[in-house]
Amino acid sequence: MADPLFEYLQRLGDDSLILAQRLCEWCGRAPSVEVDLSIANMGLDLLGQAQLFLAYAGEIEGKGRDEDALAYHRDAAEFRNCLLVEQPNGDFAQTMARQFLFSLHRELLLEALTASSDTRIAEIAAKAVKEVRYHVELSSDWVIRLGDGTDESHRRMEEGLDWFWRFVDEMFELDALETELASSGIAADRRALRGEFDRRMTEVVERATLEVKPSQWPLSGGRRGRHGEELSRMLAEMQVLARAYPDARW
């Protein structure tokens, strides 16, 4: 079994990395140039966070792997991201539904991690939480606008959220590894964040004139490397250059 802290840092880093890559798939395809930039900005914020967490992960592992080695030279089964972030973008409403659910959970998680007994994690969290607060604002705004918009935008946001309800529970799972790390004050107790998440999430979804629908069939497994096939296709595109030219430099 790998070092628990190495595992945990990969979870934190991979959530950001995989969603960053998904968001960057929008480049040049968003509904307007302004929206294109706002999506790319979020993607780059998340990429920066991934870099910090994965660089630290590499140091803890102590086998000479840096953030690039972890990002570009692990296979799908070695990724520790939750399933929500690897889901395909779908339409703009679906992308914003995913962004809203992820960012809100992430804001609460990072807030808790600013008090981590691991000072490096606390410092990264303090920097990242400001970025993620803006992501929450922006994505909440779109959830409300589209949900409380035209018949078509309402339907699309409803379908977007409906696709993602099944992936929400996994973000708040606390397995044995994180329970251990939480008891020593390094990790955050994800279960303790659920109440606040549900309260704020429900507020936004209701303002969007939509309905919260807890999933009867929640999916999980990402933290143990059990991913959907979509992740492999996404990684193929993300990693192809680094793997074809391992020593490439700018």
Binding site: V33, E34, L37, E137, D141
Partner: protein
């Protein structure tokens, strides 16, 4: 989508104490979204500490066809520049 949205002029205050400067424009459906778009378009490299947006339609501009009578008369009136006065040494900060 952006073709259906009105245009907004964007003003950025680069630092505390300086005035807001016009930097460009964005499309957005309303003022709140215009501020977000302005933030994401014009302040991503630490360009500012404050943002204003105003509907481009709400700006009243001078008529370019009338610039002769509007601006040229000022050209020959150099006495309007306060450079012809000797300032006493005691006067600071002029």
């Amino acid at each position: 989508m952006s073709r259906d949205w009105p245009l907004w002029e964007v003003f950025v205050r680069p630092r505390g104490g300086l005035e807001h400067r016009h930097v460009g424009s964005v499309h957005a459906p309303d003022a709140e979204m215009a501020v977000r778009h302005a933030r994401d378009t014009y302040t991503r490299r630490m360009e500012g500490v404050s943002l204003w947006v105003v509907r481009s339609n709400d700006i009243t501009a001078s008529d370019p066809d009338r610039s002769a009578e509007m601006f040229e008369p000022a050209e020959s009136k150099i006495y309007r520049h306060p450079t012809f006065y000797d300032l006493p040494d005691a006067v600071k900060h002029m």
